[in-house]
Amino acid sequence: MKSLQRILLSLLLMSATCTALAQYYSGEHTYDGENQNEASASVTTGKNIITGPCIGNTVHYKHYFNDHWSVDGGLNAQYTKQLYGFKAKGEYHFKVKSFHMFASAELLYNRYFKYKTNEIDGNISIRFERGYWDITLGETLINYTIGESGYTELPTLTFGAHASLRPRTNNWNVGLLFRNYDDFYYENWNINWGLDFYYRFNPRWKMFGEFNIRPAGSMSQLASKYETTGKVGVIYRWK
């Protein structure tokens, strides 16, 4: 009985501690009041069943105008896949009670050289963020062209969920992700999942990484191996 009381008390204390930390959350993706610029570079490697082993780089630049508005641009070069893309994104941040909300609009262009395919994606999303987790919901319009033929898919529901072991204010973190998109692609009902982490050296430098499983199929389709990748990179913030 005593051990049961001890477990319950510990759980209660842990919950209260987490809650207290969550209340001081300042928002990982928000303007910190000092550094308006943010740049990141990463390398991705893994294996895809269509293109085989893959390796590539991505770079991002983000500018915070103020606590509400920011813009983001990115470049993606996947050498073995012969996939090159760039994107532009605008985001508006606001708070509703204790939720940090991020409304965003994004335009993404991908050129799949190997398959002579041009792809343009437009996405609008809203992200609900708390100290330990966030959920993203949105709609994506995907258009692709091969030769003289083009097709615009009907709008696809975009969804994502992420949960962290530690609060976002912590210097390190490990999280779980579950979503049907990534930085440079949007899928239909193919659900990615994986682990991510970061380590913050100081307010300006941060290292991050991700292990991403991108299966083909989902739900009743018994998802099957499609792509597995690992990504590591650094983020630098400055005034």
Binding site: I146, G147, L154, G217, M219, S220, L222, S224, K225
Partner: protein, 362 residues
């Protein structure tokens, strides 16, 4: 205290959502809870098995039509989702036999996930085989064979072809399916392959000097998988070197999404574009897709893509005029696609039992 209450409320809400989601997945027989993230049935294993069968029997699959046949037709159906009444699949075969269609293609999801429904699928195939044999298979009588030899032939096939003469029981209805996602859940592949042996194969139809090519791809998991892609690239299918007039492809998972309110996954991006390029490379005349139970007919990159309606009782309880399509390949190689109706209604358990069917309770 207020903080603790708020946190508890959030945690309870989050947990309740997770529980509701897991409950939904596990209560629905059509959705495999573990399959949401990663499946336990491998397309690679299925394709390896299919390739083995194809290696031994690929040559037997080709059709060499007699000279008097200048044009021919075939039927295509999809997503029959047979449960306890195999009626619609039987009707498909009866329609084909009545109209002298050369063969019948099915785009997967033959039966609805449960092993006992495969028995009913088998019944439909058995009845179709019986009726088809009586119409087309004749005893082989020449200077070498007598009916007592037990050798028979299909009167539409020229005698020089390898599969010309067989014993009576080796002739089965020419029904060519691919596996769909419902054919592989709950260990469905072991039942599917017992009946149909393969889900990745091709054959040709030779009419005069022309060959038409029919390629069947396994996309039940929403991907062709490593092994199948390699096999295609290594030209493991045998007819790349023939002078091909028309190519037709058949697979389950669709590319084009006819409706917004379906939550079916399609191929991941690179694979989607790979497939569209491969169809162009094969100079495909028509690519047939299933899975979404909705009709779509469009030209893309020189290929006609037809996404089929389902033929099952749930989606179409009263049948319909366009649940199948018939493709007529004419003498000059042009193709005509026409809708074909299915009208049978699902029979009651009592009615089926009175006809000698064994009906399990739901």
């Amino acid at each position: 205290m207020e903080i603790i209450m708020k946190t508890s409320y959030t945690y309870i809400l989050f947990t309740a959502t997770l529980l509701a989601a897991s409950g939904l997945f596990s209560s629905c027989e059509k959705v495999s809870p573990q399959g949401v993230l990663l499946g336990n049935t491998s397309v690679d294993d299925r394709v390896k098995q299919s390739m083995l069968f194809y290696t031994y029997h690929g040559d037997d699959m080709d059709w060499y039509l007699v000279d008097s046949i200048e044009e021919y037709s075939f039927l295509v159906g999809s997503d029959s989702h047979i449960t306890f009444d195999p009626g619609r699949l039987s009707e498909m075969m009866q329609t084909g036999i009545e109209n002298d269609d050369l063969f019948y293609c099915h785009l997967g999801d033959l039966a609805d996930t449960k092993p006992e429904y495969y028995y009913n699928t088998q019944v439909a195939i058995y009845n179709g085989t019986r009726d088809w044999r009586f119409k087309y298979i004749k005893p082989l009588i020449d200077e070498y064979h007598t009916p007592e030899d037990g050798m028979y032939y299909d009167k539409r096939i020229i005698p020089t072809s390898r599969n010309y003469a067989k014993s009576w029981e080796r002739w089965t209805v020419p029904f060519y399916p691919v596996a769909g996602n419902h054919d592989i859940t709950h260990n469905g592949w072991s039942l599917f392959c017992q009946q149909f042996h393969t889900s990745f194969y091709e054959f040709t139809v030779k009419v005069g000097d022309s060959y038409d090519r029919f390629i069947f791809l396994d996309s039940a998991n929403g991907t062709l998988g490593d092994f199948q892609i390699d096999a295609i690239e290594d030209k493991a299918l045998q007819n790349d070197d023939k002078p091909i007039r028309n190519t037709f492809t058949f697979t389950h998972t669709n590319i084009f999404r006819p409706t917004m309110n379906e939550f079916a996954s399609t191929y991941c991006r690179e694979e989607l574009y790979y497939l569209l390029n491969k169809l162009e490379e094969w100079d495909t005349t028509i690519a047939f897709w299933g899975h979404v139970h909705a009709w779509d007919d469009r030209m893309f990159n020189g290929v006609r893509h037809i996404t089929m309606r389902s033929m099952n009782f749930v989606d179409h309880p009263n049948g319909g005029d366009n649940l199948l399509v018939r493709v007529t390949v004419k003498k000059d190689g042009t193709c005509e696609v026409s809708p074909v109706g299915l009208y049978s209604k699902e029979r009651s358990k009592t009615e089926l039992e009175s006809l000698g069917y064994y009906v399990t309770t739901k």
